[in-house]
């Protein structure tokens, strides 16, 4: 019995003394613990959103509407210092419906200091507007120039693989991008006769075996990186459905872009000039038009389109007033010319003027006026004027 009591006491006191040693507050303090070490694997949600009020008037008809909050979250998953997955969703309220789109979703790997490979759905570097400037908090006006966007004559994104990178030329810089994607598909008019001959760039599952190849070269000739000239090309041998009469219809597109951004003390602020010219040439093909009486008529046209925009903005960042520093004046000219003889023939010219107030570097209130003169097009042409008040925010 005595032995048992002694054993219990030894175990009990031994445990307590061990516990006291373990719970040494001097060595177990927060200060002495391991400092916070972030892991290499990182996940971030960024993105942007915008909302606003539009007043439109066209041929005597006026309408106004609060336009739905567009929300575009960007998911960044950094697996290591070289490997990343990125994706952008786009939620938009349009025609009383919620439209959800996958803007891009790609995986990228940095091969070396001059080369990165990307695969998946990515924004195409065809010019610079759709790849770099289209997000609402970056675009200085509430609208896009003519010919750009999801229904534009230039591709915005594609599914495929891309090699891109940049070289430091000891002052000047050169950047490049080379890619292969599913390419566009030709609208043959069977579903939408009024769009026969148009290219549809949303080609998620390739309709033929011809892949599109393209690339862009950008040159920044000055050491201050203020100026950039770019040339882009995009080509494919076939845009029609396999085994259809349009299978061998090819296309060649090119774009020339220019950018100049610099703070100039003589004018006490930042000046930002941008421009891009797009040209699209699709092989001629014959389409069928069905009249109201049921008669069918074949027609063809020279399937060439082009669009252009140039934009000038000025921010008086060196002004003495804090209010003036946050203001920005913007002006933009754009035009769009689609093929003569096509059902979607259009010649449009647009002028847009804006006044922006930057709340922070990523939040802006945009007030703009825009006037568009069109001949042809979906709406039959005429003059359309618009007044916009928008609020865009990046996060």
């Amino acid at each position: 019995m005595k032995k048992l009591i002694v054993l219990i006491l030894i175990v009990g006191f031994g445990h307590i003394s061990y516990g006291q040693t373990y719970n040494d507050f001097e060595t177990d303090s927060i200060a002495a613990s391991q400092p916070y070490q972030p892991s290499k694997t990182q996940f971030m949600i960024r993105g942007y959103g915008h909302t606003g009020l539009n007043f439109m008037s066209a041929e005597g008809e006026k309408e106004s509407s609060y336009v739905g909050s567009a929300f575009a979250p960007i998911f960044l998953f950094k697996h290591s210092d070289r490997l990343m997955f990125e994706a952008e969703l786009e939620f938009e309220l349009e025609n009383n419906d919620l439209k959800v789109g996958l803007e891009y979703a790609d995986v990228m790997y940095v091969l070396n200091k001059n080369m990165t490979v990307r695969a998946g759905k990515f924004l195409l570097p065809f010019g610079t507007f759709m790849e770099r400037f289209h997000p609402a908090w970056i675009n200085r006006l509430p609208t896009r120039p003519l010919g750009f966007g999801h229904d534009g004559i230039a591709p915005a994104s594609g599914i495929g693989v891309e090699l891109r990178g940049a070289f430091d030329l000891g002052g000047p810089k050169l950047n490049y991008s080379i890619y292969s994607t599913n390419g566009p598909r030709l609208k043959d008019g069977s579903e939408e006769p009024e769009e026969a001959g148009m290219l549809m760039f949303q080609n998620f599952e390739d309709n033929n075996n011809s892949k599109a190849f393209g690339g862009r070269i950008g040159l920044l000739p000055f050491a201050d990186s203020s100026t950039e000239f770019g040339f882009s090309a995009y080509s494919t041998n076939g845009v029609g459905e396999t085994d259809s009469e349009y299978e061998d219809v090819g296309t060649f597109l090119y774009a020339i872009d220019f950018s100049f951004v610099k703070q100039i003390p003589a004018i006490s602020g930042f000046i930002d000039i941008k421009g891009q010219y797009n040209n699209s040439d699709i092989d001629d093909a014959t389409f069928t038009e069905t009249h109201e009486d049921g008669d069918e008529e074949e027609y063809t046209f020279d399937n060439k389109s082009n669009s252009f925009y140039t934009q000038l903005s000025y921010r008086p960042t060196m002004a003495s007033s804090d209010f003036l520093k946050k203001l920005e004046l913007v002006g933009r000219y754009s035009n769009l010319n689609t093929p003569e003889g096509a059902e979607w023939e259009e010649q449009s010219v647009q002028y847009a003027f804006g006044l922006n107030y930057w709340l922070t570097w990523r939040s802006v209130i945009k007030i703009a006026y825009q006037t568009t003169d069109s001949v042809g097009g979906h709406d039959g042409g005429g003059t359309t004027n618009g007044f916009y008040i928008h609020w865009a925010i990046g996060f």
């Binding site: 971030m44 790849e131 090699l163 090819g250």
Partner: protein
């Protein structure tokens, strides 16, 4: 159009081959340690200067305080690829953003 397509593909192939040769070739700083003449005579741009130049090409330059160091690492990798920045540019800009936040 087939001829133009062939010319485009040939041009792109030449660009790829040229890019691979240049980017995979040895660089001087890998084996030459004899002189630091370049460092002595060349006035290097600071990360702050590159931050002002590179970011403003598309959007207003971000405030360093808006994200922490870890976030800046993620954003830097994203922007390096999105804006096609050189390794030198993004390294210096990232260092500046992390030092100033």
């Amino acid at each position: 159009m087939k001829t133009i397509h062939k010319i485009v593909i040939t041009g792109l192939m030449l660009l790829v081959i040229g890019g691979i040769i240049v980017s995979c070739s040895s660089t001087k700083d890998k084996y030459t340690d004899v002189t630091n003449a370049e460092d002595e005579f060349k006035i290097e741009k600071s990360g702050a200067q590159m931050w002002g130049e590179a970011c403003n090409r598309c959007h207003l330059a971000p405030s360093p305080a808006d994200y922490n160091d870890t976030d800046w690492e993620t954003i830097s990798l994203h922007m390096r690829v999105r804006a096609n920045l050189t390794e030198k540019e993004i390294t210096k800009i990232e260092s500046f953003l992390k030092s100033a936040n």
